[in-house]
């Protein structure tokens, strides 16, 4: 089992979600997050005073998948989330030791 985590631009969430649903992903956890990569933040001007906003709003998606699906899921996310401009985000996968479905107590791949 693997945990795929994606940090993407907020307005891309609907496209990514639809693409994952079409691929067959059953569920996900989505949270609002903020951060920056090589693009750094941006500047805003209020009454002539310039502020550097260093942390930009992002969406973080977490999905638990079978190990053999992980690369495909990553591809689906990358295709849907890409705009080609700076700040598109990152996707990565890490191995997961165990998963338990809270309602039934199922463990391992059955709980996915």
């Amino acid at each position: 089992m693997k945990l795929v985590t994606a940090v993407i631009k907020p307005f891309k969430l609907d496209e990514v979600r639809a693409a994952l649903l079409a691929f067959g992903v059953q569920g996900m956890t989505v949270s609002e997050s903020s951060g920056y990569g090589r693009q750094r933040g941006h500047t805003e001007v209020y009454r002539g005073a310039e502020y550097t906003v260093e942390l930009l709003p992002k969406i973080r998606i977490e999905i638990l998948v079978d190990a053999e699906d992980a690369d495909d899921v990553i591809d689906v996310i990358v295709r849907a989330a890409r705009t080609g401009k700076i700040g598109d985000g990152k996707v990565w996968a890490v191995p997961v030791e165990n998963v338990v479905r809270v309602r039934t107590g199922e463990r391992g791949p059955e709980a996915l």
Binding site: V45, R47, G48
Partner: protein, 453 residues
């Protein structure tokens, strides 16, 4: 009294409506200022305006009106600075129905045909908004208790003083020394450029200097947390300002109509003036700039609303909007933290309006062949207002600094003045976010664990 005093129902109705409009400006100001603060201090910012309504509303009825419009406190022909606080104490002699021959107390009224008690209500709302305006310069860092004491002391000594000088037949009125400098020229302050805006602007500057900067000023970003609130507040202020300016005609007549139209075109032009400066200087025409330009225009036209033509008002508005847009950067160059630009908008806007009357007034202005007299008188009156407000605010501010103290503690200020001064947080949008208010489920869970430990 031989003349027959007759009630003017139409004028009375308009003044009651105007008073209600002007009162609405103070909650409007609370939105305008509140949106510009950080989210951890919006409630305190709004409470400073509401607190001003509380204190000044009470004070005005007891001695405020009397100190503004009573006869000179120290006898006829003396300083002409304050009115006698006891002449109309608790509105004695101004209430309707107490005198059978004059059931509306019209003989004691400032305005022909309008019951004295209606004028009291109208004038009260001006005192309230003026004090509330000051709060913008000292956002995020002041004890609420000290602010309330300040509002009572300041409105009594400074506001009622200037109101008496300008509108109550005192030092800066047509009856004073500046009224007799030139033949047929009296100082013009239609609705409160000196009494309200220069006054509040100077007081804001003095308090910002006494109280000091917000922690992190100039280093941390302190951007406005909700610009839609700012736009809403600007809209409410504009709406209420019709009562302020057109109501100051004192009747439902052509002068009121002129003031209404001048108020609108000057404000429209000022918004454009501000946006042009922003577009050229910063690259964008912003919503905060539009809202600020609106207020700058409203401020500038306030003293001039009855004395200019609508075309003159357009020029006044453009100049005011552009100058105020440039003036708001001064605080960074000079290093004082006038948090929400009370100086840049109200002092500068009030000065622009008050002084330019000397050029644009259709009857006496320099551009209309009236000579230099009006301009000189307007500048002198503005200077007296600046000195009077500056000195007295300095004294009141310093006394409060050594007695009650102005600042909340450093920790309280950093954590957020809403939660530490009022025990509330403004927003609960994300149930898991602890934010500055520490109100979410995660915060509660943490608290419970702490209690068990």
């Amino acid at each position: 009294m031989d003349e027959v005093l007759e009630l003017a129902p139409g004028d009375t109705a308009w003044l009651l409506v105007s008073a209600s409009l002007v009162l609405l400006m103070t909650p409007g100001l609370a939105f305008f200022y509140g949106g510009m603060t950080r989210s951890k201090s919006v409630l305190n910012m709004m409470m400073m305006s509401f607190g001003a309504i509380g204190v000044v509303g009470v004070v005005y009825v007891l001695w405020g009106y009397s100190m503004s419009f009573g006869t000179d406190a120290f006898g006829e022909g003396t300083a002409g600075i304050w009115g006698d606080p006891f002449e109309f104490w608790a509105l004695n002699g101004l209430l309707p129905g107490t005198d059978e021959a004059d059931p509306y107390a019209l003989s004691n009224s400032l305005l022909t045909g309008i019951p004295a008690i209606v004028v009291v209500g109208f004038q009260m709302t001006f005192a309230i908004i003026t004090v509330a305006l000051i709060s913008g310069s000292i956002a995020d860092r002041v004890k609420f208790s000290t602010w309330l004491v300040f509002t009572g002391a300041w409105v009594s000594l400074v506001y009622f003083g200037l109101a008496h000088m300008v509108w109550g037949g005192g030092l800066l009125s047509g009856d004073g020394p500046f009224g007799s400098m030139f033949t047929d020229i009296a100082p013009i302050d239609f609705a409160g450029g000196t009494v309200v805006h220069i006054n509040a602007g100077v007081a804001g500057l003095v308090l910002a200097l006494i109280i000091g900067k917000r922690r992190g000023f100039g280093k941390e970003p302190m951007r406005p947390h909700n610009l839609t609130l700012v736009m809403l507040g600007a809209g409410l202020l504009w709406f209420g300002w019709f009562g302020f300016n057109a109501g100051s005609a004192g009747a439902a007549d052509g002068l009121a109509g002129l003031a209404w139209v001048n108020t609108t075109v000057a404000t429209a032009a000022a918004m454009i003036g501000w946006l042009i400066v922003e577009r050229l200087r910063d690259g964008h025409a912003t919503s905060l700039g539009a809202a600020s330009g609106v207020v700058a225009g409203l401020v500038a036209i306030t003293p001039a609303a009855g004395a200019l033509s609508p075309v003159g008002s357009i020029f006044l508005g453009l100049i005011a909007g552009a100058l105020c847009a440039l003036a708001v950067s001064l605080k960074f160059k000079l290093g004082y933290d006038d948090s929400l630009d009370v100086v840049g908008v109200h002092l500068v806007g009030g000065l622009v309006g008050t002084v330019l009357i000397g050029l644009f007034a259709t009857e006496t202005g320099l551009f209309y062949g009236g000579g230099i007299g009006q301009l000189v008188v307007q500048i002198l009156v503005a200077l007296v207002a600046i000195v009077f407000s500056g000195v007295l605010t300095l004294i009141i501010g310093l006394i409060l600094k050594v007695t009650m103290g102005w600042r909340v503690t450093a920790d309280d200020e950093v954590e957020g003045i809403d939660i530490t001064q009022h025990g509330e947080s403004a927003y609960d949008l994300d149930p898991t976010a602890s934010g500055s208010g520490a109100s979410g489920v995660l915060a509660n869970a943490t608290k419970k664990q702490g209690a068990q430990a």
